[in-house]
């Protein structure tokens, strides 16, 4: 396979596919203009606005107790949801790629559900179930358990939204991998756990990290679902994206954009790591 790809890379493009110069430059130009207008410019605006009153104002608003609380809550949410989603993703991908069972395609569809449901609806579902007027509301208040307008609600809503990320990434990967290597490990006397950690995991690790990364970005950046269940209690149930909105609505532009700059930074880091992971995955696949 190596040699095939290698020779393929050196093949010149068929002449029929060589478009005229103006078509090429026109397409590239349009794309760059759109990217500039809709991606680069807003990102630049975030930074310009954040620093519009100087470095001190920027650092002051970031170290404000409410902002710090929002950062903490965002990190906590990610720290809880990402491992859970990862665990679920591996379980689901394993079940789907390794076993034949009734309702398998239904399960795949259900895993995709959060992708097709508006995040606001996701939040609302939890309000209807756990809220004061919801199904479990009376029972919860009897035991003094707070889910809606509290941290558990935020985590639940984020879980719902990030549910498919790891599973979706791993299912095709594990299906493509087949199970011969795992059977080989078992035939050589390895236990199920040894097989997983020594054979399966190394083979899916780049795809897994890729899924985890996207899941993390979503968990930290989620707005809609979290907004519905959070209640926007300053310093308590505000995540970073919610904090951006609140400060903006209060005309605290520096505070708002300073928080936004953190999220933008997260996006840039995510993008860089994502590119690296994609590259590694391609290397691995080439080797296989």
């Amino acid at each position: 396979m190596n040699t095939v790809t290698a020779t393929h890379a050196y093949q010149p493009k068929p002449i029929a596919l060589n478009d005229a110069g103006w078509v090429r430059f026109g397409l590239i130009g349009t794309t760059l203009t759109i990217i500039g207008l809709f991606l680069i410019l807003p990102l630049a605006t975030v930074l310009i606005e954040a620093f519009s009153k100087g470095w001190t104002a920027y650092s002051d608003s970031l170290t404000h107790p409410d902002t710090l609380a929002a950062i903490r809550l965002t990190l906590l949410t990610a720290a809880v949801t990402v491992p859970l989603t990862t665990f679920f993703g591996i379980c689901a991908a394993w079940a789907i790629a390794r076993f034949e069972f009734r309702g398998k395609s239904l399960l795949i569809t259900l895993i995709d559900l959060p992708f097709s449901v508006s995040p606001v609806i996701a939040g609302l579902i939890y309000v209807l179930v756990f809220g004061a007027q919801g199904w479990l509301g009376p029972w919860l208040s009897e035991y003094d358990l707070k889910i809606i307008f509290a941290v558990p609600g935020i985590i639940l809503a984020t879980l719902f939204v990030t549910f498919p990320f790891v599973a979706r990434e791993l299912i095709p990967l594990m299906q493509e991998m087949g199970h011969e290597e795992e059977e080989a490990a078992l035939s050589l006397g390895a236990s199920g756990w040894q097989t997983f950690f020594k054979v399966t995991l190394p083979n899916i690790k780049w795809g897994l990290l890729y899924g985890v990364l996207l899941c993390n970005a979503r968990a930290m950046g989620e707005f809609g679902a979290v907004s519905v269940v959070s209640g926007h209690i300053r310093g308590l149930t505000n995540t970073l994206p919610l904090h951006v909105e609140i400060t903006y609505n209060e005309y605290d532009f520096v505070g708002s954009f300073a928080s936004a700059s953190l999220l933008a930074g997260l996006a840039v880091v995510t993008l860089i790591v994502k590119t690296y992971l994609e590259w590694r995955q391609k290397q691995d696949r080439k080797a296989a």
């Binding site: 011969e180 290597e181 059977e183 080989a184 490990a185 078992l186 035939s187 050589l188 006397g189 080797a287």
Partner: protein, 347 residues
């Protein structure tokens, strides 16, 4: 270790992959499970290994029932069709895997593992590849590493699924011979699956012919070749001419040296090398002529055409050594007479 299979059956949905298989394999044999694709041979191998569970029946290794034992407790070595080498590990780590996953009590020291892996690499004559990754190896090298890896845990039974299936013709020839020699050296009971009758004949000491999930015949290569049990085995092993005999055929059969009173409904199988082609004494009455021939190296395959009793021509293949063909000095279209040296009769 001897292998006994009792009444093994396995279905996939409505498809009966294996139907009441009974088989006894004595210790030290090198057995080929031979059959066309979809005959259940790989499923049977996987059931012996414990990678698949039979619906009914028992698997006994050395007389003890292992039907419900998982793979890891069966002391088998399995070589997969596509080798299934761990792609993220070096050749060395691949072979050492079986030793390193042993429980702390049984695990040999790292020095012992080193020694053992190098001994195995020497056995498969690939010691210089220890630090390579599987994707840097050729197909034949991967095959031998997969074998070394399976042998590392000192299995009592070696199971190979289409071991030469994915290799070039020339590499395949070398590896067949090598596997046979290796088996002589190690003398571990081995079963391999193949759809290639030539391969089975060349490598195995015993052949089990499977078709539609049933055993058609079991025996040594010469038994299978020389006295096939039935129509299927005879057709599957080697080339054969199939004659659906009719009433009028007794005349030309008598001419070819075989007397049979009522040939109707009988099928005769004749191997091409069992047909002797001669110049006819009475060319005008000879029912067969030479249509074409192919040069197969040491032998020549003659394509003969026989005028049928109902007006339809039958093609008959005969084989003879090169020199003999030259001596006969036949041309296309020449009439010939046939002498059938040996035939198998089936109803």
């Amino acid at each position: 270790m001897s292998i006994t299979l009792n009444h093994i059956s396995k279905r996939f949905g409505n498809f009966a992959a294996l139907d009441n298989i009974n088989l006894e394999i004595p210790e030290g044999e090198l057995v080929a499970l031979l059959g066309p694709s979809g005959c259940g041979k790989t499923t049977l191998l996987r059931i012996i290994a414990g990678l698949e569970q039979a619906d009914r029946g028992q698997v006994l290794l050395n007389g003890s029932d292992v039907t419900d034992q998982p793979v890891k407790n069966r002391q088998i070595g399995f070589v997969f069709q596509h080798y299934a080498l761990f792609r993220h590990m070096t050749v060395f780590d691949n072979i050492a895997f079986g030793l390193r996953v042993k429980s702390r009590k049984e695990r040999p020291s790292e020095a012992k593992i080193q020694e053992k892996v190098h001994a195995l690499l020497n056995l498969v004559q690939l010691d210089w590849l220890a630090d390579r990754f599987p994707d840097q190896l050729s197909g034949g090298q991967r095959q031998r590493i997969a074998l070394a890896r399976a042998l590392a845990v000192e299995p009592s039974v070696l199971l190979l699924d289409e071991p030469f299936g994915a290799l070039d013709a020339s590499v395949r020839k070398d590896l067949r011979l090598w596997l046979r020699h290796l088996h002589h050296e190690l003398n571990v009971t081995s079963i391999f699956v193949t759809h290639d009758q030539e391969e089975a004949m060349e490598v195995a000491s015993q052949i089990v012919v499977l078709n539609h999930g049933k055993i058609e015949q079991k025996g040594s290569p010469s038994e299978i070749y020389d006295s096939p049990n039935n129509d299927f085995v005879s057709r599957f092993i080697g080339h054969t001419n199939v004659f659906q005999l009719e009433q009028g055929d007794s005349v030309w059969l008598a001419g070819a040296g075989i007397s049979i009173n009522d040939p109707k409904g009988i099928i005769a199988h004749v191997r091409p090398h069992n047909i002797q082609v001669e110049k006819p004494q009475d060319p005008a009455n000879a029912p067969v002529y030479l249509k074409d021939w192919q040069h197969l190296g040491a032998i020549i395959r003659l394509e003969l055409s026989k005028d049928g009793t109902n007006g339809k021509a039958t093609t008959i293949f005969a084989e003879m050594p090169n020199e003999q063909f030259r001596e006969l000095a036949l041309n296309k279209g020449d009439r010939v007479s046939l002498h059938i040296k040996h035939a198998h009769w089936f109803n």
